[in-house]
């Protein structure tokens, strides 16, 4: 090994000292020759003959020098540098070609890099928590239907906590955006009630203070750095301060670093009892996370949980039959909703890159074809094919650094735009991981070089296939036409058209989805409605009832603001953040209890009087809730059309009584009305059974309400007045304002993100395909100038020539469109689940896209065709 290393070192030295060593060797040979000549003279030869003999003895000087040079230096590197130098010279000589190639590649690389940055941050990077691969979420699974539910029932939590063979730490959590009071102000923030074990799962050191210990339940809270700075000035200043959630005071004992954002948008974590409030085994109100013991695999944990599930199924058949628990790596749990979209978009952007490559390959090919004479000359002088391919390849690879660099710049802005677009869609705990780093840099570098090799190799191989015999015979001609190169060029154009058509169709389908979502009959109005989330803290029944009266007063006062048409409240607004659902029983048909999965199912919503009128949800039968439906009066309910249709097919539901487990005040509720269906969770949701109950009759759930105010003016203009009224009435009430429009728009942010990206990628792809078509047709027509000249000399009209050229282009376009349609059908089957209101193979969309793409493509061919038709026959014939 050692001598070999030494040889390499000496070769590297030799490579850099090459010039000097060559001169030395020249001198050495000269002195050798002199000595030999002298010897020959001594032997009696005449000087001239002596010198000649000496030369013969020594051998060919040029060859010796060459051998010496190759031995001493790094011949392959030298060749490469030579190629690169030559390539750079070629690029300088063709600034137009260079600019087009670099910009095309930079666009492709930039878009791909930006998309990769997001893809990598969300899907590929592991979470930045210590031992992140051991952190799991625990889901409930129904073994009969295979359905997985990401929540856990309160009653099952304690059994899961007992799985210490698998879990090093286990914690449940629940919460969301709720009101948090600090001294005399209140704000709406992501606040979660967590088991004191919570931070043992994540083992993240606090930025200040400490995390929870066993005695902290119900007493201590940890807050985010942002929360601490906003409310107390700094992280350490927050320690020892008090905050209130739901009338419970918690002392702030720790401040978490900004990187920790789990669960979604969490800013406050309050320690609550490890034993949950609701211990029912069929109410799925909690989420659980755990850290696996070192060495425990997911399969081992699943097996362990299965044995627990089996034991529970035997003990509590009503609630636990066919129920299993499965672990899921936390990362997967977080990205489950965005995974398909991101894969699809990554595929789309990869297609754009391929199209960009095809474009540059076409340019290279066209240029190489006009350099046939050069290659012939090189071949004649002894260059073998490998050498020619290497030369052409290095000419394309030197485009990599420039296009990579510009692409990186584009990607920098692109990523920012993606983050703005995706802010509502991408999983919040992972947003911090989406940034430029060495991984992205390595990706860009690899992509740039790979693409340059990819587009370079085909043309290089093609061009280097010089048939000496043929080429020399045609030495007078300016270049090749017909045969291999043009076939490769045509296929590249066909591929470009096909791929961009497929992208355009995909983007259009997404766009149609978005339109369908915007146009979907929601069942409620979104215009002119201000939404205020308001949280009136309450813990005891009197406090909760007080909160209910507070809301009634609030609605009354809001109605007095000028421009307000009506005001009401609800808990469980469509597209809002609160959602509750469960089973219910109809008196005389079912009894509430037993196996819950045999009971009908509905969404549970609370509403104040006039809520339906404010929201524009039509009252179909019966009456609305009124001010007499109070806590101490008979309980009532209003049902949605779907619920009426499914459960009261041939009878009037009014007057029937219903019971559900929304809160633990189980009472029969009389159905007093039927209202229209709404698309509840988002415009993409199917209208389903909904059960509405009066806010006042369910005070424990109703201390947080979504206040809706309908106005003829811009709803946002009401915010200051509404804010003032609420603050005057009770400064402890935390509020957050939005509009119905915004809520609905947020609920389809995923579709918007995918559509925006797919559309931009498709536009980019089309642009590239058009310039590809233009380049190929104009190149081909230039090559055929003489032919066109001949034709017009023989009497062809300009129109004939235009038809000829455009006809050729149309043939390529037609094949491209056919392939593109096939590709679209294939791709459609991958994302059909992401569409709404349109089928993946939608004839009108296909027809529309084709009817746009085809003429544009032909237009790209028309300009060069027109130029060709204007050729003066005399000039053209001299062209050869």
């Amino acid at each position: 090994m050692f001598p070999r290393l030494r040889v390499l070192a000496s070769r590297i030295r030799g490579f850099f000292a090459g010039h000097r060593l060559d001169e030395d060797f020249q001198r050495e040979l000269a002195s050798h020759l002199d000595l030999l000549t002298e010897e020959n003279i001594r032997r009696g030869l005449p000087p001239d003959e002596a010198r000649r003999q000496a030369r013969l003895r020594l051998g060919g000087a040029a060859q010796l020098r060459e051998t010496q040079h190759d031995l001493r230096g790094l011949p392959w590197l030298e060749t490469l540098l030579q190629d690169v130098r030559f390539g750079l010279r070629m690029l300088r000589k063709n600034p137009g070609f260079t600019a087009v190639a670099v910009i095309t590649l930079a666009l492709g690389i930039g878009a791909t890099t930006a998309m990769f940055t997001v893809f990598d941050g969300v899907l590929l990077k592991s979470l930045r928590y210590p031992d992140a691969q051991r952190i799991v979420a625990i889901n409930t699974q129904w073994t009969d239907s295979g359905k997985v539910f990401p929540a856990t029932a309160g009653g099952d939590l304690e059994d899961l906590r007992g799985a210490t063979d698998s879990f090093q730490a286990f914690s449940y959590y629940d919460g969301g955006e709720i009101g948090v009071q600090v001294s005399r102000s209140a704000e709406f923030v992501g606040a979660y009630q967590v088991d004191p074990q919570f931070f043992h799962v994540f083992t993240i050191s606090p930025f200040a203070g400490r995390t929870f210990v066993a005695g902290d339940a119900g007493r201590a809270a940890v807050v985010s750095t942002g929360f601490a700075e906003r409310n107390f000035g700094s992280g350490p200043a927050a320690l020892g301060q008090t905050l209130q959630m739901d009338h419970t005071a918690y002392e702030i004992v720790g401040v978490m670093p900004p990187m920790f954002q789990f669960p979604r948008h969490a800013q406050v974590w309050a320690a609550v009892s490890p034993v949950p409030q609701n211990r029912d085994r069929s109410a799925y109100n909690y989420y659980s996370v755990a850290k696996l013991n070192p060495g425990v695999s997911l399969a081992m944990a699943d097996a362990h949980l299965l044995s627990i599930a089996n034991r529970l199924a035997a003990a509590f058949p009503d609630s636990n039959r066919n129920k299993a628990f499965v672990v899921q790596p936390l990362q997967e749990h977080l990205v489950a909703s965005v995974r398909t979209s991101l894969f699809l978009l990554m595929g789309a952007v990869g297609t754009v890159l391929v199209i960009a490559c095809a474009n540059v390959a076409n340019l290279m090919l066209a240029r190489a074809t006009s350099r046939v004479r050069e290659f012939t000359m090189r071949s004649v002088l002894g260059a073998d094919r490998k050498r020619l391919v290497m030369q052409l390849l290095s000419e394309s690879v030197i485009l990599a650094p420039a296009s990579g660099l510009i692409g990186l710049g584009l990607a920098f802005w692109g990523t920012k735009a993606l983050l703005v677009l995706g802010a509502r869609f991408l999983p919040a705990p992972l947003l911090a991981d989406i940034h430029f780093d060495w991984r992205v840099l390595a990706f860009t570098l690899a992509t740039s070089f790979l693409t340059c090799i990819l587009f370079g190799i085909g043309p290089a191989w093609q061009a280097a296939r010089v048939d000496l015999h043929d080429a020399i015979k045609r030495a007078g001609a300016s270049g090749l036409s017909g045969g291999g190169p043009s076939r490769l060029r045509d296929s590249l154009v066909i591929a470009q058209i096909a791929l961009s058509l497929a992208l355009a169709i995909t983007a259009s389908l997404f766009f149609r989805t978005l339109l369908a979502l915007h146009g979907a009959a929601l069942g409620y109005r979104t215009e002119g409605i201000l939404v205020a989330y308001a949280d009136a803290p309450a813990r005891t029944l009197p406090e909760a009832l007080q909160a209910g009266r507070f809301f009634d007063d609030l609605f009354a006062r809001l109605r007095q603001i000028p421009g307000v048409i009506s005001a009401a409240g609800a808990m469980g607004l469509p597209a809002g953040q609160y959602s509750s659902n469960g089973s219910f029983a109809i008196e005389g048909k079912q009894s509430f209890g037993g196996d819950f999965r045999k009971l009908p199912y509905a969404g549970f919503r609370l509403a104040s009087p006039r809520y339906f009128a404010t929201m524009g949800i039509p009252l179909i039968r019966g009456r609305d809730f009124d001010d007499g439906d109070l806590y101490d009066r008979p309980f009532v309910a209003i049902i949605s059309e779907s619920l009426a249709r499914q459960n009261f097919p041939n009878e009037d539901p009014i007057g029937h009584r219903i019971m559900c487990g929304l809160d633990w005040n189980l009472k029969w509720m009389t159905v007093v009305g039927v209202v229209g269906d709404v698309r509840q969770s988002s415009p993409a949701a199917q209208p389903g059974p909904e059960l509405y109950m009066p806010l006042q009759q369910h005070p424990f759930t109703a201390n947080e309400a979504e206040v809706v105010v309908r106005t003829s003016a811009n709803p946002e203009s009401l915010i200051p007045a509404a804010q003032k009224i609420i603050h005057e009435m009770n400064p402890d009430v935390a509020t957050k304002f939005t509009t119905m429009n915004e809520l609905v728009s947020d609920s389809i942010s995923g579709q918007r993100f995918s559509t925006a990206l797919a559309s931009s990628f498709a536009a980019l792809a089309l642009l590239l395909a058009l310039s590809g078509m233009y380049a190929v047709v104009s190149y081909a027509t230039t090559q055929r100038t003489a032919e066109f000249g001949m034709r017009s000399a023989l009497g062809a009209q300009p129109a004939n020539i235009i038809r000829l050229v455009v006809g050729g282009a149309a043939r390529l376009a037609a094949i491209g469109v056919m392939v593109g349609v096939l590709l679209s059908i294939l791709a459609g089957s991958l994302f059909s689940s992401m569409l709404f209101g349109v089928k993946s193979v939608d004839a009108p969309t296909y027809a529309l896209v084709i009817s746009i793409v085809l003429p544009i493509t032909l237009l790209a061919a028309a300009l060069p065709a027109w130029r060709a038709s204007r050729v003066d026959p005399m000039v053209a014939l001299r062209h050869e």
Partner: protein
Amino acid sequence: MADAKSEILQGTLDLMVLKTLHAIGPLHGYGIARRLEQISDDVLQLNQGTIYASLARLLQRGWISASWGASENNRKARFYSITKAGRKQLAAETENWKRIAGVIGRVLRLAERS
């Protein structure tokens, strides 16, 4: 096959050059070539230039060193001398060569007897 053959020849030439430098001391390229021809009684007719490829290989491996000096007739010439590593290599190669030669010799004698 052609490669293998030339490799053997190269190796042999390297060994001879090394031995020459060991036996005679610093020499220039012409001197080495001349010396090799004399020793072989002019049986070995070299294309004298090939000696330089051998010298370059030996230099790279650090078995010989080179410096500029004056030749017998006061011309500038490059003198090569064997290094310590070169001597070690020579000893090893000589040993190796003898062993192979011995084996081949024995085999050939065996063939004669039968």
